[in-house]
Amino acid sequence: MFDLNKIREQFPILKKQVNGKDLVYFDNGATTQKPQSVIDAVSNYYQEENANVHRGVHFLSGLATDKFEETRNTVRQFISAKHNHEIIFTKGTTDSINLIANGFRSLLKKGDEIIISELEHHSNIVPWQMCCELSGSTLKVIPLLDNGSLDMADFNNLLSKNTRLVAVSHVSNTLGTINPIKEIIEKSHSVGAKVLIDGAQAASHICLNMQELDADFYCFSAHKMYGPTGVGVLYGKEEILNTLPPYQGGGEMIKEVSFEKTTYASLPYKFEAGTPNIAGIIAFKSAIDFITELRIENIAKYEDELLQYATSEILKIEGVKIYGTSKNKSAIISFNIEDLHPYDIGTIVDKMGIAIRTGHHCTQPIMKRYNIPGTVRVSLAVYNTKTEIDICINAIKKAQEMLS
């Protein structure tokens, strides 16, 4: 399918030793590592191209602006959106969601309802709570079934003519569940509600097509898809983005400013106030190129192979329980071992060079749902290997031995 060694060679950090052991990086849900092409693009920008965008008439500013807009075009192609101006650059998923929650607030009134789900990341909970508090609308929550999938029957009951917006994630960062977003979007649209999808955990694993999916908003972060930190995308349908007020005021987002009246720039600039993360956005293109060269279908297939292998190996650990066992799953595995605290396990395997995450993963409602203090989470990416999975499982078994 593809040459794994060649892929790994592109990631300098994977050669690193941690605590005297070869690094095994299984915390990709938090952030992925970066290939050399992305690292080079960042430093090349500062060495060769540094200038502000959309401002100067001089050569460098033109160059930076062209490259900046090239990324926008690449993102549009990557997610099959209709227009470049439907791609808004933000700081990340959190920023994208806040932008919409903030704008949407002005369209809401008392009695309106927003629906989220029980498995959301705090970034897709708190902005809506704030939005509801300030607009007097009500927040409704789609509950989880035991296997970590959404209770769709309950969702159908929650939907009503009062529903104005449904915000759910494409993939759960804790349980790995791939949600039936196509169905959610169709049903929400049938009652006239808009839909925002938090795609933070999907964009580097699942092929996206905005025109087919018909989501009104789709949010993701570059740093979880082999790109730089501090860069995110908000995709929004043109006609809806045009109805929202600007998020932040400042430079770049205006057409004309006077003390009597300021008029705003058109999309996408209306939502891009201030100097953006130019280096990061330019380098983000290299990250998308990395994914498209491998083809996302191949990545998904390989990661699924890793998921199946890791799942069956983890299940061999005595007293283990996996949280999130829905059929449609991405390569994220959360588990606990009987009588052991996830934090103890994480601390010990870290000493063996293994980076896994422990805790609530910014999803405290999921922890409450299963009545657990946290989980151990393994989240995989395209450069991970079955050998690494073996090393990790052995380390976990060693930790279990030490702790019991």
């Binding site: 934090y343 601390t347 000493k351 203090p373 030490m402 702790l403």
Partner: protein, 139 residues
């Protein structure tokens, strides 16, 4: 009554016997298992220490001039760490506890052995132990 300084010296000596992190961790785990359990009635929200990934309950009381600590945690290594702190600070006079210089922590490399979040937890534990001593002393 052994002094806080004397107890710390003993701990440093214990840790000098260990060659690697694994032995240190095993020692912490053993201490955690041996920690005298806290009375259930003290495992309340008010006694929880914030700033730990695991939950830690700490209770203190004054007997004559002396402060006695009991504690518990849902994570065993955290329990080991609090057990060490209790061995140093429990059964001492409040004034001694408040002014104690806990140099053994650096000497045994406890912070470097722990993750950043755990090191923060350690700092919170010490702070809370000193605060309890201060509060009880003024009673």
């Amino acid at each position: 009554m052994e002094t806080i300084k004397g107890i710390q010296a003993g701990i440093i000596e214990d840790f000098e016997m260990f060659d690697d992190w694994m032995q240190k961790y095993e020692y912490l785990i053993d201490l955690g298992k041996e920690l005298t359990p806290i009375e259930e009635k003290y495992k309340i929200e008010d006694n929880l220490i914030k700033g730990c990934q695991s939950r830690v309950w700490l209770h203190a009381e004054k007997q004559d001039e002396i402060i006695i600590y009991t504690a518990d945690s849902d994570a065993i290594m955290t329990k080991g760490i609090i057990a060490i702190l209790i061995s140093v600070l429990s059964n001492q006079k409040a004034a001694e506890i408040v002014s104690a210089d806990l140099s053994f922590i650096d000497a045994i490399g406890l912070k470097e052995q722990l993750s950043a979040t755990r090191a923060n937890g350690l700092v919170s534990m010490i702070k809370k132990m000193k605060l309890y001593a201060l509060a009880l002393n003024n009673k």
